[in-house]
C-alpha cells in the first residue's frame, strides 16, 4: 500500500511541476536585471516601473477590464436564463435546441467564432450602418461564448439544489417569480458569482475573437501583448504576467477559503 502512496505522490508532484514551472519561471525572470530574459543578471524591479509608464499597455488593460466587466454582467443574465430553461422547463420546445447551442460555443475553436461574427457584423453594418466595430462588437462576441460557460456553472448548481424550500414557499402562496427572487436566487448566488468571474476571465484572456471583431480604436490587452510577444520575449510582459498571476492566485485563494467555510457550515 505504501508503495502505491509513493507512486501517487510522485505522479502529483511531476504533474504539478509541469503545470507550475512555466508560471514560476515567468515570475522569477520578471525581476531580472538583464533584457535577455533567460540570462540572470541580478535582481531588479525596473521592468515593473517601465510597465507602469507604458501608457499604451495600460490603456489597453483598462479597455479590457471595461469589456470584461460588461461582458460578465451580460453573460450572467443570459447564462442564468439558459440554465433555468435547461433545468426547469422540462417541456419547453426550446430546451433541446438550446442545449446543443449552449454546448457548441464551449468547444468551438475561437477562430471560427471570430470569423463568423465578423462576417455578421460586416453584413449588418452594410445593411443598416450598425454596429460599428469596436468595444460594443467585442462585448457582443465575448458574451456569446461566455454565456455558455455561465450556463454550465449555474446549471450544475440548479440541478443539485434542494427544492424543498421553493416548494414550501409555493405552498405558502408565494408567486413563482417572487419565489425565484427570494428563494432560488440566493441559493444559486455562489454559482452566479463563479460564472461572473469565469466570464470576466474569459473575456480578459481572449485574443483571437477580439482580433477579428474589434475596430481600429479598440485594442484590447491580449492584442497588445500578442503584438509585443511576436517580436520576442520582453521582460515587461513577464512583469505583467507576474501581476496577473498574483491577482488570480489571491482571488482563487480567497474563493477557496470562502468555499471551505461554507462547506464546513453546511456540515454542521
Amino acid at each position: 500500500m505504501s508503495k502505491l502512496r509513493w507512486l501517487q505522490i510522485t505522479v502529483l508532484l511531476l504533474g504539478f511541476a509541469f503545470l507550475y514551472i512555466p508560471m514560476i519561471s515567468l515570475i522569477v525572470y520578471s525581476f531580472n536585471e538583464s533584457r535577455l530574459v533567460t540570462v540572470w543578471a541580478g535582481f531588479s524591479t525596473k521592468w515593473y516601473s517601465e510597465l507602469m509608464d507604458n501608457r499604451q499597455l495600460l490603456g489597453a488593460a483598462w479597455l479590457s477590464i471595461k469589456i470584461g466587466f460588461l461582458n460578465a454582467c451580460l453573460s450572467v443574465i443570459l447564462g442564468t436564463l439558459a440554465a433555468i430553461v435547461l433545468v426547469r422547463f422540462r417541456r419547453s420546445r426550446m430546451r433541446k435546441p438550446l442545449d446543443v447551442m449552449v454546448a457548441a460555443p464551449l468547444v468551438m475553436p475561437d477562430i471560427i467564432i471570430g470569423l463568423s461574427l465578423l462576417l455578421l457584423f460586416v453584413s449588418l453594418e452594410n445593411l443598416m450602418g450598425w454596429p460599428e466595430r469596436g468595444q460594443l462588437t467585442v462585448i457582443l462576441a465575448h458574451s456569446t461564448f461566455s454565456m455558455a460557460y455561465v450556463t454550465v456553472v449555474v446549471r450544475s448548481r440548479l440541478v443539485s439544489m434542494d427544492r424543498s424550500l421553493e416548494e414550501a414557499a409555493m405552498d405558502l402562496g408565494a408567486r413563482p417569480l417572487w419565489v425565484f427572487f427570494t428563494v432560488t436566487l440566493p441559493i444559486i448566488a455562489p454559482s452566479l458569482v463563479a460564472g461572473w468571474l469565469l466570464a470576466f476571465t474569459l473575456s480578459m484572456d481572449d485574443l483571437v475573437v477580439a482580433s477579428f471583431v474589434s475596430g481600429p480604436g479598440a485594442t484590447t490587452l491580449p492584442m497588445m501583448v500578442y503584438s509585443s510577444v511576436r517580436l520576442g520575449v520582453s521582460p515587461q510582459i513577464n512583469a505583467l504576467a507576474s501581476i496577473i498571476i498574483l491577482v488570480v492566485s489571491v482571488a482563487v485563494l480567497i474563493a477557496g477559503i470562502l468555499m471551505y467555510r461554507q462547506e464546513k457550515r453546511l456540515r454542521h
Binding site: L12, G79, I113, L119
Partner: protein, 295 residues
C-alpha cells in the same frame, strides 16, 4: 408559471444564440461560396443586381477547388488532425495518472488539489504560452538545464518545431482533460472494486478490469474537450511552432489577415467545422449518457 413570461425566459437566450452563433456560421458558408476581389469589401456578393435590374445569384465553388488542389491546405488539415491527436494522447498520458491520483487522495485534499489544477486556467492563456518560449528556446531554461546535467552537449532545437506545439497544447488543455475524468473517477462504484479484491484480483488487475472500463466516458469527454479546440488552435502553433508547422487555424488566420482573402478563409473554416462534427457528436453523446446516469 405565466406562459408569456416563460416564453420570454426561454426566448431571450435562444434568440441570442441563434443570432450571434448559428446565423454567423451561415454567413461563413455563404462567404465561402463567393469570389475574392481586390478592394473593399474584399469579395463579390453572392446576390448581385445587374445593370439591367436583374438579380443574379452567382455561386462559386472555386475556393473549395483551390483547397482540394493546393497541397498546402491538405497538409494543414493533416497537420491539424495529427497535432490534435498527439496532443490529446499526451493529455491522456499526463492527465489520467493525475486525475486518478487526485480521485484516490484523502477527501479533504481533493478540493485543494483540483483548485491547483484549475488555477493556471484562470491566468492568461497567452501568457502561459509565452512562458514556454523562454523555456524551450535554444538558450532557454530547458536547454540550459539539460546541458548543465550533461545530458546534451549543444542546445536542442525545440522551439519552432512541432514538438513545441505538442508541449504547448498538452500544457494549455490539460485542465480540460483532468476535470471531467476526475468527475467520472470519484463517482466510481467502490463496491465493484471491493468485490474484485474479495475475489482475489490484484490492484493492477482491479484497475484494468474495473476502474479503466468504467472511466472510459470521462476519458472520451475529456479527450474531445482537448481535441476540438486544438484542431482550430492559432496562438500555440503561431508562437511556438515554426513556419513549417501547418494547421488549419493558422492557415485561416494568414488567409484572412495577411492575404485578405475572406472567401478562402471562410472555405477553410467550413472545412474545419466539418472535421469537427464527428468529435462534437461523440462528446454530446457521452455527456447525455452522463446526465441520464444522474437522473
Amino acid at each position: 408559471m405565466n406562459k408569456r413570461l416563460s416564453g420570454l425566459i426561454a426566448g431571450i437566450p435562444t434568440f441570442w444564440l441563434v443570432v450571434l452563433f448559428v446565423l454567423p456560421l451561415l454567413f461563413v458558408l455563404k462567404m465561402s461560396l463567393t469570389e475574392a476581389r481586390l478592394g473593399l469589401p474584399p469579395y463579390h456578393d453572392l446576390i448581385r443586381e445587374m445593370e439591367d435590374g436583374l438579380i443574379t445569384i452567382k455561386i462559386n465553388f472555386g475556393n473549395y477547388v483551390i483547397l482540394a488542389q493546393d497541397s498546402l491546405y491538405l497538409s494543414a488539415l493533416w497537420g491539424s488532425l495529427k497535432i490534435a491527436t498527439v496532443s490529446t494522447l499526451l493529455c491522456i498520458l499526463i492527465g489520467y495518472p493525475m486525475a486518478y491520483a487526485i480521485a484516490n487522495s484523502p477527501k479533504h485534499l481533493q478540493t485543494p488539489l483540483l483548485m491547483l489544477v484549475i488555477l493556471p486556467f484562470w491566468t492568461s492563456f497567452l501568457i502561459r504560452v509565452y512562458a514556454w518560449i523562454g523555456i524551450l528556446k535554444s538558450n532557454g531554461l530547458l536547454n540550459n538545464f539539460l546541458m548543465w546535467c550533461g545530458v546534451i552537449d549543444e542546445p536542442l532545437q525545440i522551439l519552432h518545431t512541432v514538438w513545441a506545439v505538442y508541449i504547448g497544447d498538452a500544457y494549455s488543455y490539460l485542465p480540460f482533460f483532468i476535470l471531467p475524468l476526475y468527475a467520472t473517477l470519484v463517482k466510481l462504484d467502490r463496491g465493484l472494486l471491493e468485490a474484485a479484491a474479495d475475489l482475489g484480483a490484484r490492484p493492477v488487475m482491479q484497475f484494468l478490469t474495473v476502474t479503466l472500463p468504467q472511466s472510459i466516458p470521462g476519458v472520451v469527454a475529456g479527450s474531445m474537450l482537448v481535441f476540438i479546440p486544438v484542431m482550430g488552435e492559432f496562438v500555440i502553433p503561431d508562437l511556438l511552432g515554426g513556419p513549417d508547422v501547418l494547421m488549419l487555424g493558422k492557415m485561416m488566420w494568414i488567409e484572412f489577415f495577411n492575404n485578405k482573402d475572406w472567401p478562402l478563409a471562410s472555405a477553410l473554416t467550413v472545412v474545419l467545422l466539418v472535421a469537427l462534427i464527428i468529435p462534437f457528436v461523440l462528446m454530446q453523446n457521452y455527456e447525455q449518457q452522463d446526465s441520464k446516469d444522474k437522473a
